[in-house]
Each structure stands twice: as C-alpha cells, then as structure tokens.
C-alpha cells in the first residue's frame, strides 16, 4: 500500500520535472510548445550516449543532460521561437509539431530506432526496507533530486530578483518592460532553463519511462495533462497535479487494472469540466 | 406613465464587497434617463445585473411589468432589453452589413435557419437599409469591422443594439473615447433615437448627460444616492460634493 504511494510519488515527481518547463513557457510566454518533449529526449540521449559510448558515469552525465538541452533551447528560442510569440496558438502548435517530427527523425537517423538503455550504478539498483515499506533506491534518488529541484525552483521564484522580475513579466509584459525589465532576456533564460529541466527529466526518466525516438510524441499528452490540470500561473499547481496524476495512475493500475488506463483521462476531463482554469487556479 | 424597466431591492455581493446595495429603480416608458456616479460606484455591475450577465444576490428585475430576474441574457434581448458596451464589443472579422443583418435576422427568428442564404428575405433587407441609414453606416457596409474608424465602430455598436428593436436600450458611455471631430455625429444620432424606445444612459460626460437626459439618477457606493430632474440633480450640492467634485480631474 505504502509502496504504491511511494511509486506514485516518484512517478509524479518525474512527470513534474519533465513538464514544468512546459508550464512556464505556456504561462509566461503563452506559447504552446508541443516540442517540449524533444528537449527531454535530448537530455535522455545525452546521458545514454555518454554512458554507453564514452563510459561516462551516470551522475556525471546529469549536468550535461541539463546543459546541452538548455543550450539547444536557448539557440532555438533566440532564432525561431522568439518570432512566434505573437502568433496564434494554431501557428505555434503547427510549428512545434514540425520540430517534433524533425527531432524524431533526426534522432532515429543518428542513433537508431531501438530503445536506448542505460546501466545504473550499482548503488542505485535494488531496493531497501524502510520501516516495513519496500523502497526502490533509484526511485528514492528521483524523489530526492526532484524534491530538491521543486524547493529550489520555488525559492528562485519567490526569493530572488530574477524570480520577482519573472513574475512581473508573467503578470504583464508591457508593464514589466516599462519598469526597465529586459523581458526578452528573461524569456530566453526561462525557456533555456525549462528546456534544461526537461532534459534532466529525460535523463532521469530514461530508466523508468524508456527512451526511443518516439519519446516526445509518446509523452506529450502526459505533459499537457499536467499543465492543464495544474494551471500555469504557479509552480505548485503543476507540481501537485503531477503528484496526483502519478499516484492516481499507479494506484489505478494496481487496484483496478482493467480500467487503469481510464483513470488518468477521466480524472482530467472531470477536473477540467469543473475547473476549466485548472485545479489550483483561483477561479476568476 | 407606464414603467419600462424596474428593479426592486436589487443586491449584489462579491464576497464581502457590496457592489449593488438595495437598488430600487424605475425607468419610465419613453424616458431619457441618465445614470451617473463616480468611478467604482457600481454602474457597470448594475448594468450587468440588468442584462443578466451576472445574477443578483437578491432582489428582482421587471421588464414592462414582467419579471426577468432569472432569465438568460439572450432571452432578455429577445424580450426587448438591449445594451451597448463601454468598450466596443463587435465582431472584428465581420462587416457592418453582416453584423446588423445578424441582429435583425436573429430577432426575426432567422438564426435557426440554416438552409436559406443570408439576405434572401425582403423584410430583413429593408430593415438593414433603414438602420444603416439611421446610423450613417451606408458608406462602410462592406468593410471589415476591425478596419473601421473608431467613431464608426461606436455607431455600429449602437446600431447593433438598436437592430434588436429594444423596448429599453441601455447605453454604456456611448461617447467614450470618440475623438472630438466625430463626436457631434454620434451625439446627434443618439439624440435622434425614436421616442418609443426608453433609454438608460450611463455616462461620465456631463455635457452629454445634461443635453440628453430628462431625469438623472446618481449611484454612489452601489446605492441610489439621489434621483430627480436634470435641474434638481445639477443643483444638488451633495451631488456636487460626491460626484462633480471628482469629475474635475477627468
């Protein structure tokens, strides 16, 4: 019972790290970036390729799994995304889907279509017994890392100058510009950071979610669910949504396996019909 | 005199805030009535209550003696209560012709008609022409609404409400934002509205109020502060204190 809860939390945390960048781009720049999963995939492949072809240890690849997608995100934001902020959502969807297609085919071309597997270091394998609850070591690792990220994000947003500028830019870009805040720089930095987080999520998730060229398409729906259910105005919304989703998914499949797959979707529809702005948004 | 529109003890609370405080108000048949009040007095809330965009916490609304308190907005329009908006609410991708045609054909029950081509009914054409002429829109009928000059858009806003053939017309600051040059045309059009339509004008502009209205109600903090003829209200020192004093800096 507690094990299920634990697994659900780990899964939810992972979803959050993968999706929170999307929440930010959507909330901040009002940009529907369906290519978000492609950055996650980039992170996953960075880790897999470094480990399998160059023998770099798992932990050492993680910073790179953050940095490389972040740079990629920064470059794309400056060259392409930037031009599309003012366009309609349909344009953005079309554009980012196009990017996904290109990413899928390009990764397939470079690394093949098969699953990429990574070898966790021994100290992350297996499970231990914590007060009668069987706890997977790797999942604990994920929870610790992701938990730290959540706290760090929350602190950055609420306590730093960057955070207050970011919030100002979200609330009203025009006013923020009037206050002398370089909104375009903040957008770029945030986009890069979100892409980096996705990359880190992809690297951490490669072990549990699998990693192949179709990754961005396979998990796009999950990311979107997290973001719509959680709302986009805060970090806590998507975070709680991820947890609920993770736990509901795992518990649903455990207790009612025949309808397990319904749980997540039905939950989403109910939430969105009752609270169209998302579960944790104040009603307007 | 018969009463066109009446509210009894109308209250609207938003959480702890009382936006409309026990307003009992009468609009007489054929009246030219102005509702004034300082910013935040609750004028817009009041109009939203009348048109059904929001529901009152308590109280009742009557249109020509019939209660409409629980009625959906579109049904109130069909019963003859039309409004204009303070900020233009138009259909940017449609032409004035289509916009007016839409309002007319909806009123005549044509909106459920999905087979006939729009404009094939003679009576509709006739009415469109009449309204277009009344509101001086004949020269821009086939332009995209979003490309119209602001003054024309303002006229169209009123024209659409008028096309609903209202018994009561609520004008929410019709002249707001209209440049001085186009202002005269707009005011003349408003003044020329037929007398069988009762008009409630919500306005800041005192010149317009005094030239147009024959009765004035003053709303302060959501409650009716006073009501009377133009003469009475304009000389009321209390009104000057709460309202006119403020309007100086506008």
């Amino acid at each position: 019972m507690l094990t299920i809860l634990f697994d659900g939390i780990a899964y939810g945390m992972l979803l959050f790290v993968l999706a929170c960048g999307l929440a930010v781009t959507l909330g901040l720049m009002n940009f529907v970036n369906l290519a978000h999963g492609a950055f996650a995939m980039a992170g996953g492949y960075v880790t897999a390729v470094l480990m399998n072809r160059s023998g770099v240890p798992f932990l050492a690849t993680l910073p790179l799994a953050f940095i490389i997608p972040a740079i990629l995100g920064l470059v794309l934001e400056r060259t392409l995304y930037k031009r599309l902020y003012t366009r309609s959502h349909l344009d953005q969807v079309l554009f980012s889907i196009g990017l996904v297609f290109m990413a899928v085919a390009a990764v397939d071309y470079s690394f093949g279509s098969q699953q990429q597997l990574i070898q966790l270091p021994v100290w992350l394998q297996g499970r231990i017994d914590v007060m009668g609850v069987q706890v997977g070591l790797y999942r604990s690792f994920i929870i610790v890392i992701c938990g730290a990220l959540v706290v760090a994000l929350q602190l950055i947003l609420t306590k730093t100058r960057f955070g207050s500028r970011l919030r100002a830019a979200v609330d009203d870009p025009r006013v923020a510009r009037g206050l002398g805040i370089n909104v375009s720089l903040i957008f770029a930095a945030t986009f890069a950071f979100g892409s980096g987080l996705a990359g880190l999520g992809g690297a951490l998730g490669a072990e549990i979610l699998g990693l192949d060229p179709t990754f961005p398409l396979k998990f796009m729906i999950y990311f979107l669910i997290v973001v719509t259910v959680g709302g986009t105005t805060s970090i806590t919304g998507p975070f709680l949504a991820s947890l609920i989703l993770g736990i509901a998914d795992v518990a649903g499949k455990y207790y009612v396996p025949s309808v397990g797959a319904f749980v997540i979707y039905t939950l989403m529809i109910v939430v969105l019909v009752l609270r169209p702005q998302g579960l944790f948004e104040r009603a307007r | 005199m018969t009463i066109a529109l009446e509210t009894k003890g109308l209250v609207k609370r938003f959480g702890g805030l009382v936006a409309t405080d026990n307003v009992s108000f009468k609009l007489e048949q054929g009246a030219r009535h102005a509702l004034i009040g300082p910013n935040g007095a609750g004028k817009t809330t009041f109009i939203n209550l009348l048109t059904g965009v929001i529901k009152p916490t308590s109280g009742q609304i009557f249109l020509e003696g019939q209660e409409i308190t629980g009625l959906r907005p579109e049904l109130r329009v069909q019963r003859g209560l039309a409004r204009t908006f303070q900020i233009n609410q138009l259909f940017p991708a449609m032409t004035p012709l289509e916009t007016i045609g839409l309002a007319v054909s909806e009123r005549l029950g044509g909106g459920r008609d999905w087979w006939r081509v729009t404009g094939s009914k003679r009576e509709i054409i006739h009415e469109i022409v009449e309204i277009a002429q009344r509101f001086r829109l004949t020269d821009v009928l086939d332009e995209r609404t979003s490309n119209l000059a602001y003054g024309k858009q303002r006229l169209l806003e009123i024209a659409v409400a008028f096309a609903c053939k209202p018994r009561v017309l609520l004008l929410d600051e019709p002249a707001a934002g209209v440049p001085e040059a186009e202002r005269h045309e707009l005011l003349a059009t408003v003044a020329a509205l037929p007398r069988d339509v009762s008009v409630l004008l919500i306005e800041h502009d005192m010149d317009l109020v005094f030239s147009f209205a024959d009765r004035i109600s003053v709303l302060v903090n959501g409650a009716l502060f006073t009501e009377g003829t133009v003469e009475q209200v304009s000389t009321d020192p209390r009104v000057r204190a709460v309202y006119l004093g403020e309007s100086v800096d506008e």
Binding site: L80, R83, R87, H89, D91, L94, F95, G98, V100, F101, M102, A103, V104, A105, Y109, I221, I225, T228, A261, M268, I269, L272, V273, P276, Q277 | T51, V53, R72, L75, V77, A82, F85, Q89, L90, A93, L97, E98, T99, L102, S105, G111, R112, D113, W114, W115, V117, T118, G119, I125, V129, Q133, R136, T138, D139, L141, V160, A163, C164, A188, A192
Partner: protein
Amino acid sequence: MSTNIADYVRTTLVRRGRWGISEIAFWLIAAATLYFLPERHLILNEIAIIGLFALSLDLILGYAGIVSLGHAAFFGLGAYAAGILARDGIADPLLGLGAAAIAAAILGFVTSFLVLRGSDLTKLMVTLGVALVLGEIANQASWLTGGADGLQGIAMGPILGLFEFDIFGTTAYAYSLTVTFLLFIIARRIVVSPYGLSLRSIRDNPLKARAVGIPVNRRLVAIYTLAAAYAGVAGALLAQTTQFVSLDVLAFHRSADVMLVLVIGGVGYLYGGLIGAIVFKVLQDVISAWTPQYWQFWIGLILVIIVLAGREHLTERVRTFWKGMAGRSAKIPETLPKPSAREV
C-alpha cells in the same frame, strides 16, 4: 435611392452564397481524376476521406471557434459503427453511413456540453480526453470491436445494390468523393445561412453574440453535433472502403493529423480541409516513397517553414483568391447617397 442601397445590401449578402469559378473548377478536376488518374484512386480515396474529416473540423474550428484535439473520437465511432454493422450482416453501405452519422451525432451532442466552457487549452485537453477514453473503451470491448487486433470480417455490399467495391479503389473513390461533395454542399449552404452567420459571430465575440440575443450555447451544441456526424461519416467511409477497422481510428495521431491538415489548408473557408488533405497526403506519399524511414523529418521541416513564412498570410491569399472568384462583382453603386444629416 433607398432601393439602390437595398439592392446593394442584397447582392452583397447573397454574394457569399454564389459558387465561384475556382470552386466549380475544383470539383470538376476532382471528378476528372476518376478518369484520368486510375492508378491513384486508392490514395485519392483516402484524401477524400481525410478532406471530409478536416471539413468537419473546420465547421467547429473555423466557423464556431471550438478547438479540438479529439476529433478522432467521432471519426472512430463512425468507423466502428459502420464496421460492426457490416460485420454483423448489414452490408448496405448507405445504411452504414446513416448509422455512423447518428452514432457520432449522439456522442457529439452529449460531449458538446463539455466544450462550452474554458480556454482553448482546456478544450483541447477535454476533447483529447474524450477521444482517449473512447479509445480505451474500444480496446477493452474486444468482444465488440476486435480490440487491438482490429475488426475483421467486414464484407460490404454493393452501393445502392449496383456498384461493387473493386480492388482498384475506383468505386471506393467515386463513393467517397460523392459523399464528400454532397456533405460539402450542405456545409457550404449552412455557413452562408443566417445560422452560419450567427456561428461566425459567436466565434468572433461570444459576449456580444449573447447581447444580440443569440442563444450561444444552443448554437454551439448544434454545430458540434453536426460536425461530429460529419466526422462519423468520414470514419464510416474509411471503414467501408478499406473493409477494416483498427484501434488507430481513435488514436491521438488521427486527431492531430486532421488538425495539421486543416491548418495547412487554411481555417474558415471550407476548402482548407480539402486542400490541406491533398497537400499533406501527396507530400507524405512522395517523400515516404523516397525515404520510408525519415520522411517525417521533411514533413516537419515543411511545417516549420510554412509557419515561419507566415501561414496565416499564405492562407489569407488563397482564401481571398477563392472569395474573389466567388462573384465579387457587386461594387458599391456610384450613385450611393451620402447619409443625410438627420433622418428620423
């Protein structure tokens, strides 16, 4: 003098209903392909079906402003309805179409109440959720649908008892094209009717539409139901002409593809879906024949370029070309009187 304006008003309004030369040419060419491109009938059949499917999405997206990422729900339901009917011995294609339309319309009616509220993103996700749930149901109900193996044993009778489906896909294409054309005529009629006008007004500004006395929700429910029926028919056409239904008629990529098709072709003038279907399918066919592994890359690149080059600008051009041909001969009469100062 006011008859002058009246004439002008009438011709301007009726103009939209008239068929332009380019429209007639479009359908003539489509009909001509029945004779001139015999070895392409199979893909043309698929194009006609996707075109109809995209047309149905255009009805709600282009004319009522409802975005949907779950339109495959109706497509798939129609496909299964027609397929199951045919498997169980009711082999008449037209009957199958009718049943599919009704089934999809019922689902459309019921689910329409879910998409009346909320932002675009909310609507996207709710419609997506409906399609995913339906996909799961179809997967679980394998006794009815054949589950993941697909629905087998569909044997279609001849259309109207006269035309057997052939292996060249000619009958299938003629059938799909005819159905698409007939439904197109109805859709075209609807969008220029007062009802269609009220839909456009709702898309533009629902608040104002209410203020004009339009029962907004009822109109949206009606068009959503109709579009669902159209999508159901498209699905039924696919089921009948391929005589096979598998779970991917309900899959997410189906909804996403139809959205791409429509957006490529342009939203809000009915031909967008048809043109988009031609462009998308032909591109996919040509590129994937050339590189079966990596065609997605080039499709993706084309999408990106289309957007960067200014899609809305491009489709606006196509659309005005289309409209320009649609009898925009009625110019404002020279003698149009300037409005007099006061006329009460």
